[in-house]
């Protein structure tokens, strides 16, 4: 199956902001990260996305928050992004 992967910053140094990945049927987010790491070894995707085997960024699957074990389906859009909370300097 094929999923679309997007990085909503700060993954500026990943090879592209959007990429397509082919995965085994039933693969979950963890499997996707493993695959990303293989595809871009020099970019250290694993270190950027995980810490101590846990996600360190948010993952949205078709715009809904997911986790490491969320199963992916063909055509899914997976977005990795920082937790964007609140804030502004125009206080």
């Amino acid at each position: 199956m094929r999923v679309k992967v997007k990085f909503l910053l700060p993954f500026d140094d990943m090879s592209s902001k959007e990429t397509v990945m082919d995965l085994e049927k039933g693969a979950d987010v963890r499997a996707l990260i493993e695959k990303l790491s293989c595809k871009f070894p020099e970019k250290e995707a694993k270190n950027k996305l995980m810490i101590d085997e846990e996600l360190k960024v948010m993952v949205l699957i078709n715009k809904r928050p997911g986790n490491m074990k969320t199963e992916l389906a063909h055509g899914d859009e997976v977005v990795f992004c920082p937790v964007f909370s609140g804030g502004n300097c125009h206080d």
């Binding site: 360190k56 920082p82 125009h90």
Partner: protein, 634 residues
């Protein structure tokens, strides 16, 4: 010997042209520390609740905190506190930059301004010497010209100037105070209060920074921050493109307030996104004292509008309020609107909010061409956005109505207009959606200044999907149960209650939340360690939290006595209407869930069923003296 602070408060009576220095002892500073807590103390002691914001009896307290100016990232901010024209209650507002440190270098921890000068003046504080100087020739000038003229006549470009533009002089209710052209006391209309006092600017310089108790430890904390901040994704985003990065994420997830809060999806988001802005008009980066993050982006353009980089560039809030709120997707128009607000001294959030409200009224027939002088206030028009900013700053035509803020404008328009007015207590909503992140309903409803997005941690820092390392950083507060952003049950009330106090600590220390836990590098224990190292006090997180609580409770008592009763904790009707379209389609707050959460929060905070702080709570915080306000307000 005091460390980190002087123990000196500068008092200035503009009516009598009297200047004196008041000394406060260590216990005072340990109790109130600075920022909004110190400000609220002076307001409660000196101003009768119910005083009009523009009356000479209102005061303005400018200060940092005991740690402000210590060379650690995020210890750079300063506050202004006084009565807000928008709410009629007490409000504080913080800004970053260098002015906070410079005030201490000039020899003072705080400046308390009272009275009203009969003619325009500015205040010059030069290494302990204080002078009230004529500003007749500067009056009417924009913020950039004001700074230039003060520099020129004092022959010194290193003087740190904060001041107001024409909007403040004209008492636009949401006029802001501009510090060094790129830092803003945006919220609450303090610029108009300064205008009402005929005070154009406060210029500071000096060489008297107080010693730190443990210089080495302070340096170690700063070094640690510098070594680690790029490991934090949010901070990396800030470093790369600043808060403007928020536009893409907020829109993607259906949370970008659009067309006066009708929907969370803005078709023009890509055009006004941080990424596009950086590419097309991003010029350079800047920041605040001692902070390596440098999150502030300046923009520059020559066509179709000349935009000067002197006035910085739009933050996330400004892109949203001037852009998606009003439906304007022309990046250049939005960036120009931001520049105009900064030159005239207008809060971008309230400006965008009131313009979006007016557009909604116009599209619904509540404002007619006759009211607008022929201006077609349709969502999406960049030209109208820019025209209205000019008219608001000068209080001309329809600008006069809008210059009173959304709440008062809605009252004047009457009829259904109130249903379209998105504010709490009179303060327009910042660009975070309470229908999606529901703890914000409590924050906007109950924060002392009105709808305040910097009043507490937002829900996504503690959801089941939030990465564990982030969630765990809230554990020292006693928050360990992740909750859905859509939850507004008892555990969410507790999440709000604790983090509201934590943010009040940040407001009392005048620290930058972009440097602080849970999402940013400086952990809670490190903050405590830093306070200890700067002041030499054996401070604990508990003691800091009590300072934060003190600020909130003083403000609440003052506001209750100023007539901001529980009805003022209500949410605007639009929050009970479902969001339209996109991923958040259908999300709304139900009146019952809000009412239940609100009553539970009152109880948790030590307030009675009408939202008035109980005597026992005041005693617990050593604030019995605040009860004395009752006599004065009667």
């Amino acid at each position: 010997m005091t460390y980190g602070y002087h123990g000196k408060i500068l008092r200035v009576d503009l009516t009598e042209k009297r200047i004196w220095v008041e000394k406060q002892d260590e216990s005072f500073f340990r109790f109130y520390m600075g920022g909004g807590a110190l400000g609220a103390h002076y307001v409660c002691k000196n101003v009768r609740p119910g005083t009009h914001a523009f009356a000479p009896e209102n005061i303005m307290v400018f200060c940092g905190s005991v740690i402000t100016g210590a060379p650690v990232a995020g210890f750079s901010r300063h506050s202004v506190t006084g009565i807000s024209p928008l709410t009629g209650g007490i409000a504080d507002s913080e800004a970053g930059g260098y002015w906070g440190r410079a005030l201490k270098e000039a020899g003072f921890d705080a400046v308390v301004i009272e009275g009203r000068s009969p003619e325009p003046v500015y205040l010059l504080i030069d290494d302990g010497d204080v002078e009230i100087k004529d500003a007749g020739h500067i009056w009417g000038r924009d913020t950039g010209e004001t700074q230039d003229m003060i520099w020129r006549e004092n022959d010194d470009e290193k003087i740190r100037v904060l001041g107001i533009g024409p909007a403040g002089e004209n008492e636009v209710y949401f006029a802001c105070i501009v510090s060094e052209l790129k830092h803003f006391h945006g919220r609450g209309g303090h610029g108009a209060v300064m205008g009402s006092k005929n005070l154009k600017a406060i210029a500071v310089k000096g060489d008297k920074f107080p010693p730190l108790a443990d210089q080495e430890k302070v340096q170690e904390i700063a070094r640690n921050f510098a070594g680690r901040y790029m490991d934090f994704d949010y901070t990396r985003v800030l470093r790369e493109i600043g808060t403007s990065a928020g536009i893409s994420f907020q829109n993607y997830s259906g949370q970008l307030p659009t067309h006066n809060w009708q929907t969370g999806c803005f078709p023009g988001a890509q055009e006004i996104s941080g990424e596009t802005m950086m590419e097309e008009i991003g010029e350079d980066k800047g920041g605040c004292f001692a902070c390596p993050v440098r999150c502030k982006v300046s923009v520059k353009a020559s066509k179709p509008y000349p935009i000067s980089k002197r006035y910085g560039g739009p933050e996330y809030e400004s892109l949203a309020s001037l852009g998606s709120y009003t439906g304007v997707s022309n990046l250049y128009a939005v960036a120009k609107a931001n520049e105009l607000c900064n030159r005239y001294g207008l809060d971008t959030i309230s400006t965008g909010g009131v313009i979006a409200f007016a557009m909604d009224c116009y599209e619904n027939g509540l404002l007619t061409d006759e009211d607008t002088g022929g201006l077609e206030l349709k969502f999406g028009s960049g030209r109208v956005l820019l025209d209205l900013i000019e008219m608001i700053a000068r209080q001309e035509g329809i600008g006069h109505l809008l210059a009173q803020g959304t709440k008062k404008a809605a009252e004047s328009i009457g009829g259904e207009a109130k249903k379209l007015a998105v504010h709490c207590k009179g303060l327009e909503f910042p660009a975070h959606e309470p229908r999606v992140k529901k703890s914000l309903a409590l924050a906007y409803g109950t924060a002392p200044i009105g709808a305040d997005h910097m009043a507490s941690e937002h829900d996504f820092s503690n959801t089941p999907e939030t990465p564990a390392p982030i969630v765990q950083r809230l554990w020292p507060l006693g928050i360990s149960k992740p909750l859905s952003a859509q939850d507004l049950g008892p555990a969410k009330v507790k999440f709000f209650y604790y983090t509201h106090i934590l943010y009040s600590v940040f407001n009392s220390l005048d620290t930058c939340i972009f440097c602080m836990a849970p999402l940013k590098p400086l952990g809670l224990q490190e903050l405590v360690d830093a306070v200890r190292a700067v002041t030499g006090w054996d401070m604990s997180l508990w003691e800091l939290m009590k300072v934060g609580e003190r600020r909130l409770q003083m403000m609440r008592v003052f506001n209750c006595l100023a007539g901001l009763d529980e009805s003022q904790d209500a949410l605007p009707p639009r929050m009970f209407e479902p969001l339209q379209g996109g991923e958040t389609h259908g999300m709304a707050i139900s009146p019952e869930e809000y009412e239940k959460a609100l009553k539970l929060y009152y109880d948790m905070a030590g307030w009675d069923s009408e939202g008035i702080p109980r005597y026992s709570k005041l005693v617990e915080l050593d604030l019995e003296w605040v009860e004395g306000l009752k006599e004065r307000s009667g």
